[in-house]
C-alpha cells in the first residue's frame, strides 16, 4: 500500500496532477503533498533569486579565499590569472612550455636542496596536528581578534581560534581573563571541518611571549633514534586515541601517536602535559606502539614567566560518583572532585561503553583522562570540560 502510494505520489509530482487511478484516500494525501510542493516551488524561486543576487559577492569571497590558500599549496595547477602582464601570457603555448620547463627544473632543484623545508610548510604542519572532529589542546601566542576569530600563532602554524560566548577565558588563577595580543595562551577545543578551532577554554598566561618558532613537522613512524622534546599540542581522535606534537630541539616538530594506556600513565607523572619535557619510548618494536616518559625537567614546575594556565589535564580512576560529581583518584593530586555539566564532552576510548551509559554508574572503576577548570563557586572542585573514558582499571592490572 505504502509503495503504491509512494509511486503514485512520485507520478503526481512529475505530472502535477493526481493520477486517475488513485483511491479517494490516496487522492487526499497526494493533494496535500502537491500543496506542499507548490509552496516549495515558490520557495525555490525565491532562493534562486537570492542566490543569483549573492553570487558575485560570494564568488569574490571564494576567489580571495582560494588565492590565499594557493600560496601554501603544491604547484600542481597554475594559480588563477587575473590581470596584468602575466595575463598576457595566459594563452601563449610558448610561454606555457617555457613555464613548464622552468617549473620542472625548479622542482628538481627543490627536491635536491629543499626537501626538509617542505616539511615546514605551514599548511602541512597545521594539517598534521589539526584534524577535523578532534579535541585539541595547544599552546600559542595570541594575535589580533576579529569578531569571534582570534588569530593564534602556534609552533605548527597560524590557527584561527573561534572564541565565542561558550568559551571560558581563564587567567593563571583560574579567574576570568582578558585576551590581548602577545600573550601566551593554551587553547583547548574542537577542530572544525575548516581547521578552525572552536575553543572551549583559553587559558591566558601572565606574561607576554615570543612568537613561536616555525619548524618542519614529521610524523613518527619508527623510533630508530632517541627523541626528546617538549609537548606543544595534545589531541584526541573521536575514538579517544591520543596524539602529541613535540618540539624537538630547534629543528623540528614530531607528531607521535601514543597508546591510550601509556598516555594515561604518563599523565599521572606530570602536572600538565603542555610544556612537559618528555622522551618517546617504544612499547613494542621500533614501529610502535609508542609511549611517553617525563624527563626530570618535565616533571618540574613550568619555566618562570610561563606559569601554566589553569586548564588542568590529568589521568586517574573514577572511584565514586555523587550525583553529577565524580571522585577521581590520581597519583599526583590525590582524590580530585570533578563536576559534570551539560557542556561536558566525552570521548570514548573503549568501544564497549555506550554513550548513553556515561552518566550512569558505569564510569566508576574506569580509567579516565580529564580536562577541567576550577569551579569558581566551589573551591576544590573542578568542572569537567572533556573526559576521555578508557577501560576498566582492574583490567590494567592483569
Amino acid at each position: 500500500m505504502s509503495d503504491r502510494l509512494d509511486d503514485r505520489l512520485a507520478r503526481a509530482l512529475e505530472e502535477g496532477a493526481i493520477p486517475a487511478d488513485a483511491s479517494p484516500a490516496e487522492s487526499e494525501e497526494i493533494a496535500q503533498a502537491l500543496a506542499a510542493m507548490e509552496t516549495l516551488g515558490a520557495a525555490r524561486l525565491q532562493a534562486q533569486a537570492e542566490a543569483a543576487e549573492a553570487l558575485p559577492g560570494a564568488r569574490q569571497r571564494f576567489e580571495t579565499f582560494m588565492a590565499g590558500r594557493q600560496q601554501s599549496l603544491p604547484a600542481e595547477y597554475p594559480r588563477p590569472w587575473h590581470s596584468g602582464i602575466a595575463g598576457l601570457f595566459r594563452w601563449s603555448p610558448r610561454f606555457r612550455t617555457y613555464a613548464a620547463g622552468t617549473a620542472a627544473l625548479a622542482l628538481v632543484v627543490a627536491a635536491a636542496l629543499l626537501v626538509p623545508v617542505l616539511f615546514g610548510r605551514v599548511e602541512t604542519a597545521r594539517a598534521e596536528v589539526l584534524v577535523p572532529g578532534e579535541y585539541v589542546q595547544f599552546e600559542a601566542v595570541a594575535g589580533e581578534s576579529s569578531g569571534e576569530v582570534l588569530a593564534a600563532a602556534a609552533e605548527f602554524g597560524d590557527v584561527d581560534v573561534i572564541v565565542d560566548a561558550e568559551t571560558q577565558l581563564l587567567d593563571t588563577e583560574g579567574q576570568p581573563g582578558a585576551l590581548s595580543p602577545g600573550r601566551r595562551i593554551v587553547v583547548a577545543g574542537v577542530v572544525g571541518e575548516d581547521l578552525r578551532v572552536r575553543a572551549r577554554t583559553v587559558s591566558i598566561a601572565g606574561a607576554d611571549a615570543e612568537q613561536p618558532r616555525r619548524r618542519p613537522v614529521q610524523r613518527l613512524r619508527d623510533l630508530r633514534e632517541a627523541i626528546r622534546g617538549t609537548i606543544v599540542a595534545v589531541s584526541y581522535s573521536e575514538e579517544g586515541e591520543p596524539r602529541v606534537a613535540l618540539a624537538v630541539g630547534r629543528e623540528r616538530l614530531v607528531v607521535v601517536a601514543v597508546a591510550g594506556d601509556a598516555f594515561r600513565a604518563f599523565l599521572e607523572t606530570v602536572r600538565e602535559p603542555i610544556g612537559a619535557a618528555v622522551r618517546v619510548i617504544s612499547l613494542g618494536g621500533d614501529e610502535g606502539p609508542f609511549g611517553l616518559e617525563a624527563t626530570a625537567s618535565g616533571a618540574e614546575t613550568p619555566v618562570p614567566g610561563q606559569e601554566h594556565p589553569r586548564l588542568l589535564t590529568f589521568a586517574g580512576t573514577v572511584t565514586a560518583r555523587d550525583g553529577l560529581t565524580l571522585t577521581v583518584a590520581t597519583l599526583l593530586r590525590g582524590e580530585v572532585r570533578v563536576r559534570l555539566t551539560a557542556d561536558t564532552q566525552f570521548r570514548i576510548g573503549d568501544p564497549s561503553v555506550l554513550r548513553e551509559e556515561l552518566r550512569g554508574e558505569r564510569l566508576i572503576g574506569r580509567l579516565v583522562t580529564v580536562h577541567a577548570v576550577p569551579d569558581p563557586r566551589a573551591p576544590g572542585v573542578l568542572v569537567a570540560d572533556t573526559i576521555l573514558v578508557g577501560r576498566e582499571a582492574e583490567r590494567q592490572a592483569r
Partner: protein, 190 residues
C-alpha cells in the same frame, strides 16, 4: 539536471580528481555550478539570507580546504558539498540553541496571531515548518524541490534506494504540509 552538475560519471570523476588537487579552474567551475544549489539547500534551515550566504560560502571554503580527502566513488562531488552543508548547518544551529537563539528563532518564525489571516511571508512559514521535519526529511525536500534533483539523483546523493527516497519524500511533504497548516499558512492565503 542542473547546468554544470556533472552526471556523466567519467566527467564527474575527472572533475573530482582536479578538485582534489586544488585545481582553481575546477573549483571555479564547481562554484558556478553548485553555489545556487548549496544556497537553496541551506536557505530555509537558517534564519535569513545573510546567514545562508555565509554558510554557503563556508561550504565551499571547507570543501576546498579538505579537497584532498574527497574520494570519488560514484557519488558526485555535489553529494560531498551537501554533506558539508548539513554539518555546518547542524553546528550553526546547535551553537545558536546553546546561546538561546533557538527561542528567539522560534519567536521570529512563528507568525503573530494577528498575522494569521493576513499576509504571511513565505520564507518565515517555510523556515518554521522545516523545524518540524527530521534532518533526512529536510534533506530530501531540499534536494528534490529546492535543488530540483530527480528521484534517481537524490537517491545517489543521499546514498539511498529510489524507493526509500520516494517514501521519505511522501512523509516529508505530508509533515511539512501539516506544519504549514498548523502554523496558519494555507496555500493561497499568502
Amino acid at each position: 539536471v542542473t547546468e554544470g552538475a556533472p552526471h556523466d560519471e567519467q566527467a564527474a570523476a575527472e572533475l573530482a580528481r582536479r578538485a582534489a588537487a586544488h585545481d582553481p579552474l575546477a573549483w571555479s567551475q564547481l562554484f558556478t555550478a553548485q553555489y545556487g544549489g548549496v544556497y537553496a539547500f541551506v536557505r530555509y534551515r537558517l534564519r535569513g539570507a545573510p546567514e545562508a550566504e555565509d554558510i554557503a560560502a563556508q561550504v565551499f571554503e571547507t570543501a576546498y580546504l579538505n579537497a584532498h580527502r574527497f574520494d570519488y566513488r560514484g557519488v558526485p562531488i555535489e553529494g560531498w558539498l551537501i554533506g558539508i552543508a548539513r554539518n555546518l548547518v547542524r553546528d550553526h544551529r546547535k551553537k545558536q540553541r546553546r546561546r538561546g537563539f533557538h527561542e528567539e528563532f522560534e519567536e521570529t518564525m512563528t507568525p503573530p496571531i494577528s498575522d494569521v489571516a493576513g499576509q504571511i511571508a513565505l520564507q518565515n512559514d517555510l523556515a518554521a515548518a522545516v523545524q518540524h521535519l527530521t534532518e533526512d526529511q529536510q534533506t530530501v525536500l531540499s534536494l528534490r524541490f529546492l535543488m530540483d534533483r530527480s528521484v534517481a539523483e537524490t537517491a545517489i546523493l543521499m546514498d539511498r534506494s529510489e524507493d526509500a527516497v520516494k517514501n521519505l519524500q511522501r512523509r516529508a511533504l505530508a509533515a511539512m504540509q501539516r506544519a504549514l497548516v498548523s502554523a496558519g499558512y494555507e496555500r493561497g492565503s499568502a
